[in-house]
Symmetry: D3
Subunit: 244 residues, 6 copies
């Protein structure tokens, strides 16, 4: 049976999955694979299946936000996927984090709506420690500038008191924000699969969000390099994990 949204069957999905948000990033992951084929592209869910250094890898875009990320994750789990590495973008909450620096999330503040539909807010959004370890080890081996810590996943950054929110979390030590990490970490744990998350910083602290994202869309060199790095890091980590 084809899953209703991702339009894939068990045969289409490998044990190892990469989860970008943007369907276009699926294609940019494809460039790093030894071979691949497109499986389906329905709504914001684009899926390809390919090979990287001998292992099978699926790449499925989740779209923006926890609601669509949940759908992708649930349907991928239903197809037998076991390891998930999200590769996304982050707006930094600390001054020292530069564009293109990678954030490997240990956990996330759950300000998304989707994870709360599954379980109370006091349940922690935590990276799977096996995946987390491999991500940290590989990032070090690859000599990629990176930070490890907590992020915040929310459902809208165009809120009226955005500045206050960002300053609050800056003081509490968060590394930055995205919109899906908390959802996939929470849901992954409830579904007994292993989830990690790598985020590429595309907005420096206290710059304007719209400007930052625009720069990114305009393909600033550093953000592009950050994305290239998070792709390679995810692929290398899945290789290592598949050997265990």
């Amino acid at each position: 049976m084809k899953q209703p949204h991702i339009q894939c069957t068990k045969d289409d999905i490998s044990k190892m999955v990469i989860l970008p948000g943007d369907p276009a990033r699926v294609d940019r992951v494809a460039k790093h694979l030894d071979e691949y084929e497109e499986i389906a592209y329905n709504r914001e869910f684009k899926t390809i299946k390919g090979k990287y250094k001998g292992i099978d890898v699926t790449v499925t875009s989740t779209g923006i936000g926890g609601a669509s990320a949940c759908i992708a994750l649930e349907e991928l789990v239903a197809c037998g996927a076991e390891y998930f590495i999200r590769i996304g973008s982050l707006g930094a909450y600390q001054e020292e984090i530069k564009i293109g620096d990678l954030i490997i999330a240990e956990g996330a503040v759950r300000e998304d709506g989707a994870s709360k539909m599954y379980i109370g807010e006091n349940y922690p959004a935590v990276a799977n420690s096996e995946v987390l370890e491999v991500l940290k080890k590989k990032a070090k081996e690859l000599e990629y500038a990176h930070y490890t810590g907590l992020v915040r996943s929310h459902d809208s950054f165009y809120i009226d008191n955005e500045d206050d929110v960002v300053r609050y979390w800056n003081k509490k030590g968060l590394l930055g924000a995205d919109m899906e990490t908390a959802t996939v970490m929470t849901l992954g744990r409830l579904r007994n699969v292993k989830v990690g998350s790598i985020l590429n910083n595309v907005v420096v602290y206290e710059s304007d969000v719209r400007d930052g994202i625009n720069d990114y869309v305009d393909n600033g060199k550093m953000a592009e390099e950050g994305e290239r790095r998070e792709i390679i890091l995810a692929l290398e980590a899945l290789c290592e994990l598949s050997k265990k």
Copy 2:
């Protein structure tokens, strides 16, 4: 300046906007326009601009979930849009609602995360009454089978206690559920724009959600016809509203 996600400028966006969730439905709306051009397609946000019976209409897909719908709405408002009609799919919560029946939402239960980032839960997600009136009037004129009442917008239907949730709301009289109506109604009001929502029933009450959506994806005739109707209804309503 181009908006970062929808990749449009003020020149690209008209006062009247239709908001499907699915980028593919943007193309299906296009077929009903007298003329149109594609403006942008970035992530889940596909935008076309066209003409319908002499008025300018923009169609932008929101993607699934309140988080991406918020982004679309905020950026469209920043480009000068004033009237929004969401056209989406619904899973029915009452037995008598058949596939392809239209639901014109008076308001929505706010079980989405995105609207809560803007304002407390006790703020009502209510359709703009001017838009609502015209939708009801036009649906009657077009002789489309339809219901008017409340729906529920949530961030995930793959939750473990889904059946209990659905039965609870059936008893409370809700017509059905989607994932974006509450978000766009709440945010629209805060941004002082006018929002209505038409939903096409694609899952009958107490059937299995995955089956239902699959049928829809497989293009069951009635669901297809329902979509055609919600498109025409939205277009006709915008025409009428533009005359005021």
Copy 3:
């Protein structure tokens, strides 16, 4: 069987009901009826039954606050009432709203305790759209100065941070506040009856609440005229609704 609080039976109550808060306003509605009789007056619940342009109308006062309004509504529904129009007073939250201007509520922020006993806060307090349409149409025909939008219904305006609360909601675009609209709209929907609400502005924005209400009690001309208008508007609307 007589209902315990309103002390009425099914024979006493018509399909069409007007709901003032103040028992004394019941008598002022009576003056506009072609004929009427007093049915009961127990606690804050005064009920009369009469005729207006050929239709049967019941008028029952709810007392102040959602708790007593709930009792009135529940017992009236048990007696077979179907359409309810609240006529109440409002303190304005926007500068342009003058004393005696009418507010036709599309919905209400649920800051009352009573509606929360029935259903979660994210369920919207929304006017019935059939009633709302007729109220808007009739207000226009009668050429009464009026606004359509959201109000806030709360359980106390003598709170210590009242000024902050009012300023917050002014910025969010609310038209003003009363104490019963959210309750009767929420409960009405759950009981499958049709509820609308007209509010007469008796306190201008940023004036002192006690002064404002005193002026009103002292029968300022404009507030009196506003009340006269909301009574006529309610009666005319019920006439129109009874024809459908």
Copy 4:
């Protein structure tokens, strides 16, 4: 200055106040006074001022529910009142409590909306211990059957799951429910005045609420006697308190 709702001035209000809910009960208190005059009767707020065994006593009805009780209390405090004894009706939550038995509340579960507008729910609704002591002492001297413990004050008993709610609180040991005790105890403390509450049981545990209240309205002998006793107890307690 006259208070806007109770329509009284400082001269009208004594230090000692009795707070029935029902305006008609104000008159039944009057019968026990040595002399009295009616001060005002606006909406549900009826006020008389009189003498009992040499001390000045004011009696003001609060109407049903915390919202109107708050208004009465705030305006009475503004007029200089210091001691308040609520005399109300209760539905019993324990089998052994008979019709007409008195409940002297030590505190109350805050299920009203009004007190929550003033302060967080974890702030306790507690009787003033000076008033409580005198009430207990006098009830004993008068040899009135009575219970001391906690009650619950809520904003609606016509909710769909009323039976579950009642059974839950029965197990937790509550004596019964009214609609105003929690509000006046919470607000009284915040306004630095002294509040106690006597409740007359008018509905036995697990009987039907509508029947129970009807019996009461039909003036069942025991309920009437209970009311007579709560009036005398309140008056005697205020006498004792005025001597301190």
Copy 5:
């Protein structure tokens, strides 16, 4: 059977119990007893049993915080204890309260986590009125400087916004804060036992908490005298209560 934490059996525990927080204070209570023996000392729970003016008294330390206080209370109730008087320390929230002044709590704001595990926050933490009355009467007879009113029980005073919290509660009229009163009052009522609380002020309002507690640990004379007084007051009250 020995209770798992306090390591006592029914034979070890009398009807009357004193609950200090600090195990060392158990020994300081012992000095005021006519005779005593140590029963158990496991973790923070030290228990002695003795005689005071002819009555049997148990003294058990609860440790710091509601979590351990709950354990002590639950296990003592399981052993048959009926009356509990907590003797603890308080940081004052009002300027006029001096070091060594006693606070007799009528109730407490429930900012502890433990009581919330048992019952919703709107259930009041109230002193048993029988115990409270005797404490007030005895404090007066002993001519100890004391205050009666509400306190706040919380789970940490090293929070970042402590100053704001303290100032907020100062304005709301709280007498001060401890960490266990709300827990033992709430749980005691649910378990149908009688609980009172005496607190000895060891930190004046707006002094630094760490300094204050240090002074106390350094055995400032007034704080020591305050502790002596709360011990005697508790013992005298239990004597009086045992006569009833």
Copy 6:
């Protein structure tokens, strides 16, 4: 300056700290040190300082519950401590976990009151990944039976619906429960120190809690061995961490 509760100064505290709950366990840790001295023992806080394989180690008991654990952690951080490993007891929520098996917590459900005083519930209680990695690695090297996953930290297990709670979390995949892990993980992160937690299972799933803890107090062999192992694991991990 001496910290008020733990009664230690900066000189007394090393960078590496072990946090048992029970003061008696401090002494049992001491047996594994090459040398040590007792620093202070005030209330439930017992502190020793010693050497293990050449590194300085402090051991401080936290007492039971988040409230006292917070105090210990805050004061230890004020004295310069940087790495913390909690060694505690757990009641298992999964059948396969045997007495004496170790649980290395990746994170914890925050059902404690103390951590909520610092930060919202949606902030995750997550182990520091550096500490977590070393704990997992060392447990493997030492060949100790162990599990890695989430636990729940709460403020009372004597609640009335304990069985329901346990069964709920069993289904959600939690490994078991303690009372301090969530608190120290949350607070540690906010204070920028590194926290891990090892728990020794002392109660098998679906056995009676009181029996289980009694067996433990009676020093069942396996539970004793489990405690020995968590001590050695903590010491070995701190050694490894100090080399970095």
